[in-house]
């Protein structure tokens, strides 16, 4: 329903919300019906997560897995941050002996590996696991047992990596593990093998989640949510998921080849026997460049969500925004050689990649302009989520501009593999992904926990992070230009790099304090924050149409939407879908483009098979590093686990289950 809507000064966004208890199943706003309370209890029982002593291993509910995923990803983030702090201490003055050369090399490898494989992509997927079903108006995420399996694979991979690091088997050849430095002759022992297997763990996890997201977004949207009414965050996750499926196999193949070379004795990267070290670089960067867009594009969606709510209007230029995200996804696959400009590839070929690398700035720029236009025409509310978004704009645009610089081959020939690139990548990754992530977590914190984070601490943490970040990474642009290469454990005092490095280290202390403030705010408020209610920010999208935290079934009735901002345009008694079973875990499956109801699908009960399968798979992966017998012993075991997983269950017969009946006048079947 279009038309004007006067900002209501009494909106929950501008007034403190009254204290409310945990949701009683009344739902919120226009999508509830009288008599919902009884349905709530029935549905809660049907959709309840696992119980019993082994319940931790049996959870498949997307809320539970999503929360675990987010928390685990942030634990890896904290560890990666500690590693970064150690590096900054070592580099704070020339000739420092705080860390030995070997330990420093392990630490920067672990930092990059942790942040890129264990934090950046998984946390974006984790937020999506929790939020996407709520945003598309569905009861569940597709393939819940696969979701659990991907969480366990992710967890086991991280545990393997960090256990190895504490045993002095941490990888030490860089997070990109170039050959021949990572070949058996120059990297003896198991260190690089651990890295290669970690890649397998995390990529399996990522691809599985990507599949779930694509299916959920394309087939489980609530009726009325045609593709042109999907929230921009849902679009961003759709694009990201497709990118994951196309990009991850390249690095899995690469790490497989590396393992074959190291353990089996193949020569894929051995020049003397016909291989080529550049093959590794192509395989890795064909993944590596889309990887950073996989990290970045979900953040774009988060920014759109936050700007919509906190500027009180939908984002300007919906179609342009969608097309920009899709274009970024496509073009992102055509940039990878810009990581190889110094390898002596033919210049005409390299120039193509310069052009593509610059061209990708256009869709990103369009999005920035549309957001500024949204702010221009909206009414900003300066809560911490919006502050993080504004910080994102300030930092990411700078990072994008330094990206245009490194896209130019002559400039890249000077700044490649220097601290200039370190500055660029942190500007675009922290500015472009972590800032929106922190804003989005603040924004969705009340939905996930039922309580609000503290605004004052939120503002303080924002400013500490913003100032600390710039103090840390801005000087690195200059450091790169005056000759400081990357991945150096120390430098001579005569180089004159000491002062800027010291400044960067001081900045990193401020940055760490900022992150600490944010996390303490989150941890304390999760238990003792002010109660939030269903829609504390007066947001427009469907996740705000249910309790905070949401019941395990998300929505009592499937809402029918007719706009991109359903809650801002819903009539008093909005149409909704009834008829889904209350005693079986039924999810409404709709058609791909127009979201018309298609059929119902029953989802499985909680199960420990995903855990067991992940355990068996992890055993195979770890064992393979030491003996090929791991395959022989492990594969039958893993297959047995899979058999248990897919063992058919008797489907509940139609007519057995009391259906969700509602008063006919409001019901849309």
């Amino acid at each position: 329903m279009s038309g004007t809507r006067v900002i209501d000064e009494a909106s929950p966004l501008t007034q403190p919300s009254p204290p409310r208890g945990r949701g009683q199943g009344e739902g919120a706003g226009p999508y509830s019906l009288p008599g919902d309370h009884g349905l709530h209890r029935q549905l809660e029982k049907t959709w309840s997560p696992a119980t019993g002593p082994l319940r931790w291993f049996m959870q498949i509910d997307h809320h539970v897995i999503g929360k675990r995923f987010i928390i685990t990803a942030f634990i890896w983030f904290a560890l990666g941050g500690v590693l970064a702090a150690l590096m900054r201490i070592q580099l704070s003055r020339p000739g420092n002996t705080f860390l030995s050369a070997d330990l420093y090399n392990q630490i920067f490898t672990m930092h990059g590996t942790t942040m890129m494989f264990l934090f950046a992509v998984p946390v974006m997927e984790a937020v999506a696991i929790y939020m996407i079903p709520l945003l598309v108006g569905s009861r569940a995420l597709a393939f819940p047992r696969l979701t659990a399996f991907s969480y366990y694979m992710f967890l086991f991979g991280g545990i393997m990596l960090y256990t190895a690091f504490f045993l002095n088997i941490g990888p030490d050849a860089g997070w990109f593990s170039y050959v021949p430095l990572a070949s058996p002759e120059f990297a003896p022992g198991k260190r690089v093998d651990i890295w290669s297997q970690l890649v397998n763990f995390t990529e399996i996890s990522a691809i599985a989640v990507a599949i779930e997201l694509i299916v959920t977004i394309l087939k489980q949207r609530t009726p009325g949510m045609s593709v042109n009414r999907m929230p921009l965050y849902v679009w961003s996750m759709l694009v990201t998921a497709f990118m994951i499926i196309f990009a991850m196999p390249a690095v899995m193949v690469g790490s497989l080849y590396l393992l074959l070379d190291r353990l089996v004795g193949t020569h894929l990267f051995n020049v003397a026997e016909g291989g080529d070290p550049l093959l590794w670089q192509h395989l890795f960067w064909f993944f590596g460049h889309p990887e950073v867009y996989i990290i970045f594009i979900p953040a774009l969606g988060m920014v759109s969500s936050i700007i919509t709510t906190f500027c009180r209007r939908p984002v300007f230029g919906y179609t342009a925004m969608v097309l920009s995200q899709v274009a970024t996804g496509f073009i992102g696959f055509g940039l990878w050689v810009h990581h190889m400009f110094t390898t002596g590839l033919p210049q005409s070929g390299e120039s193509f990649f310069t052009a593509a690398s610059m061209m990708i700035a256009i869709p990103s720029g369009i999005q920035i302009f549309c957001w500024i236009a949204t702010i221009w025409m909206g009414r900003p509310v300066y809560k911490p989520p919006l502050m993080f978004v504004l910080g994102f704009v300030a930092i990411f645009v700078l990072g994008g501009l330094s990206g245009v610089m490194v896209a130019s081959i002559p400039i890249d020939l000077q700044v490649h593999d220097t601290f200039f690139v370190v500055a660029h990548l942190h500007y675009v990754l922290i500015g472009g992904a972590v800032f929106p992530l922190l804003g989005a977590l603040y924004y969705w914190f009340p939905k996930i926990t039922g309580r609000l984070m503290n605004d004052r601490a939120g503002h303080v943490s924002f400013w500490l992070i913003f100032i600390g970040f710039n103090l840390t990474f801005f000087p690195m642009h200059k450091l790169g230009l005056i000759g400081m290469p990357r991945r150096v454990y120390t430098y001579l005092s005569e180089t004159g790099w000491g002062q800027l490095n010291l400044l960067a280290t001081i900045g990193s202390v401020v940055l760490a304090l900022g992150f600490l403030t944010y996390f303490i705010n989150a941890l304390v408020c999760a238990k003792r924050g002010e109660f939030a209610g269903a829609n504390p920010w007066d947001g427009p999208t469907l996740e705000w149409a249910t309790d905070s935290p949401p019941p395990h079934y998300n929505f009592i009735h499937m809402p029918v939407v007719s706009s991109t901002e359903p809650l801002w345009h819903a009539p008093e008694h909005a149409p909704l879908v009834t008829g889904l079973s209350t005693t079986a875990k039924e999810v409404l499956i709709t058609r791909t483009f127009d979201a018309e109801p298609d059929h119902r699908y029953t989802y499985p009960a909680p199960s420990a098979w995903p855990f067991l399968t992940a355990l068996a798979t992890a055993g195979i992966f770890l064992g393979l590093l030491f003996t090929p017998w791991a395959f022989v012993i492990g594969l039958p075991i893993a297959s047995l686990m899979a058999v248990g997983w897919f063992w058919p269950t008797t489907p509940q017969k139609e007519g057995d289950a009391p259906q969700d009946s509602a008063t006919a006048s409001e019901a849309v079947a």
């Binding site: 504490f166 002095n168 003896p188 004795g265 003397a272 030491f626």
Partner: protein
């Protein structure tokens, strides 16, 4: 939480021996250079020889360094890549002058009749121990996870981590 920290501390202390990078010779390693006895007759009651492992026997980096030095000090000139030529092969189970680490050490440092030069004073002792470990790996006598993989050049035999373990033959009674 405290339990987790204690476990983590214990893990760091274990610090896998295979993965250590020992860049300098430690005094303990220097003490291992005991001289080989030239006869089997000893004074006093019979005391069995204590078998010691060389300092790099379980150390992947040490074995890898030994492989590099095998080429750099031109051991390949007589022994090829283990198959032998002017010198005897090193990848079989026949050890003319003994297969114990200190016997191999003595072979390299003292030299042997029929053409093995003495490298005393020409190769630093810790590098000799690295060579010892590598030579042992040629016949599979080091743990497979520490043995080397394939090299970055033309391959003439299987990588050390894939060769079978060859139990050294008992040395003949009378020597040298």
């Amino acid at each position: 939480m405290k339990r987790v920290l204690v476990v983590l501390a214990a893990l760091t202390l274990i610090s896998c021996e295979r993965e250590e990078r020992k860049f300098r010779q430690t005094p303990a390693e220097a003490a291992l250079q005991k001289r080989e006895r030239l006869v089997s007759l000893v004074a006093g009651p019979y005391t069995p020889d204590v078998k010691i492992d060389g300092p790099y026997a379980y150390n992947a980096h040490g074995i890898s360094e030994g492989k590099r030095l095998f080429s750099w000090y031109n051991c390949v000139g007589c022994h090829a890549n283990g198959g032998g030529g002017m010198g005897p092969p090193l990848m079989d189970e026949r050890w003319i002058y003994g297969s114990d680490p200190e016997q191999i050490f003595a072979t390299i440092v003292e030299g042997r009749p029929n053409g093995m030069p003495s490298f005393r004073g020409k190769i630093p002792d810790h590098q000799v121990w690295q060579l010892v470990a590598y030579v042992q790996s040629l016949s599979g006598n080091v743990p497979k996870d520490a043995a080397g993989g394939r090299q970055e050049n033309m391959q003439v035999r299987k990588q050390e981590q894939s060769i079978p373990d060859l139990e050294p033959e008992k040395a003949p009674a009378e020597h040298p």
